[in-house]
Symmetry: D3
Subunit: 67 residues, 6 copies
């Protein structure tokens, strides 16, 4: 039944997304005692220029990072 | 006043989106007795590789489907 | 596969929620050709004092309404 | 047209919410050049025990704070 | 930087929420290589009568369950 | 601690996004008395063909506008 949305910066590999989906699902199953089939995961990627902390867009705040 | 967000896989036609917006709005008007002008719809398309059920990304779970 | 969240004011009856879930699901099945079992609906109720249009909280904008 | 959701801890006064709705709307109007009537604001209050940073729920991380 | 929202039925204990926050954060740190301090978790609890799968509200679909 | 998501049509300049992040953060700091570093902003851009009011997709409703 749980629905999980995780917002991360765009640019992660398919392997990372695969591992993210698998391990987040495992975590929910272990902690909540739910069935894997009941867990839906949405990886919501944001452009770095659409995310800000402390009033600064991500590219201004962390110009050296790509993800 | 209602705000409705529907998350669907990317790849539907403009006609389908048009019909989706129209019919979801009609449904809210019929059930809630609100005015069409008060209904906002957001079609939030996700990439199939960003959606997982049962710990598997959509392309791994349903390799034969494109939407 | 679709996930639908509808934000409405708190105060609707269980019958209205039941009808809302049924008819929104029917609409997605009819328009997208998906299976009912793949449709998840989240009715996200908000307190009227937590919703604003035009800069005014709902109770100030529509003092005569209860939902 | 913009829709803004702000997640804050439960416990703010109605006056604070009123000021929040008004000033966030003013900000969107000033920066985006939209009309106030097109701006919807949703104040989504969370319980402090439902919010975590650094793996710690808010009451454990900031035991001295009430909001 | 990641922001994670997990929607679960209301009724879990504080211990479960604590474990959920800790283990989801650990998972994101392990998979994405981020710092714990950058991870925010929002446990968004829904009432069972506000959640539907297959067009049926949760209490009608699973009358025997309380969470 | 606050997390703010604003949904706007795609097509705004980087300068506008920068100003949006800065001024929304300032607003939250001024009204809530929080620290800038605790404020996260997510600018969630939607395609105009994915947004509807009154049952009409944005391009049909406002064919003359580009954002």
């Amino acid at each position: 039944m749980p629905f999980l949305e995780v917002k991360i910066a765009r640019g992660h590999t398919l392997d990372t997304k695969r591992e993210l989906a698998r391990s987040l699902t495992d975590t929910l199953v272990a902690v909540l005692g739910t069935q894997p089939e009941w867990v839906t995961i949405h990886i919501n990627e944001f452009e770095r220029e659409n995310w800000a902390v402390g009033g600064l867009l991500h590219p201004e705040r962390h110009p050296e990072r790509s993800t």
